[in-house]
Symmetry: C2
Subunit: 96 residues, 2 copies
């Protein structure tokens, strides 16, 4: 199915940009995916069926200061939840 | 990024199941994608970061009569919008 949620790209890039300042307990791929999934379930989906519209939808969120702040707040909240209870094998192995 | 919105699968399968009774002006791939994108922007995202959870999330929506009815209602509304204003090349070529 040729649809894509542009919010996935915005969340992934925002997480990678601010990863260093989120005090993550673990930053393995599973934990980053868990943070993205939690955050995306809290944010409005922005699906497009034609990738040529992606830049317009992205700029709507990234240029809009309030939108960008909301996204970062949701990501920080999701990061705190995952950091408080990491489910990945990497963390489990380190803390056996 | 290893996350997936299970609602995409539920919407795609529901649309294919009921496609015949939605009186679509055009059922080409672009129009079906447009309907899915519109519907997914109206429905709560259900992202997972581990595909083994997909069946549990799906059954939550499909077994729940109210949930399934809401999804079908949103798809029917999106189908009516796209049918009223098809943007695909297939329809344009037929109506030049």
């Amino acid at each position: 199915m040729g649809v894509h949620n542009v919010m996935e790209d915005v969340v992934r890039d925002t997480l990678h940009t601010y990863k260093g300042s989120l005090h993550l307990t673990c930053d393995c791929e599973q934990c980053l995916n868990d943070i993205c999934a939690l955050a995306l379930n809290e944010l409005p989906p922005r699906y497009i069926s034609n990738s040529k519209f992606s830049p317009y939808v992205r700029v709507e969120h990234e240029a809009n200061h309030q939108g960008a702040t909301t996204i970062l707040t949701v990501i920080a909240k999701s990061a705190a939840i995952v950091s408080g209870n990491p489910r990945c094998d990497t963390y489990a192995a380190k803390h056996q």
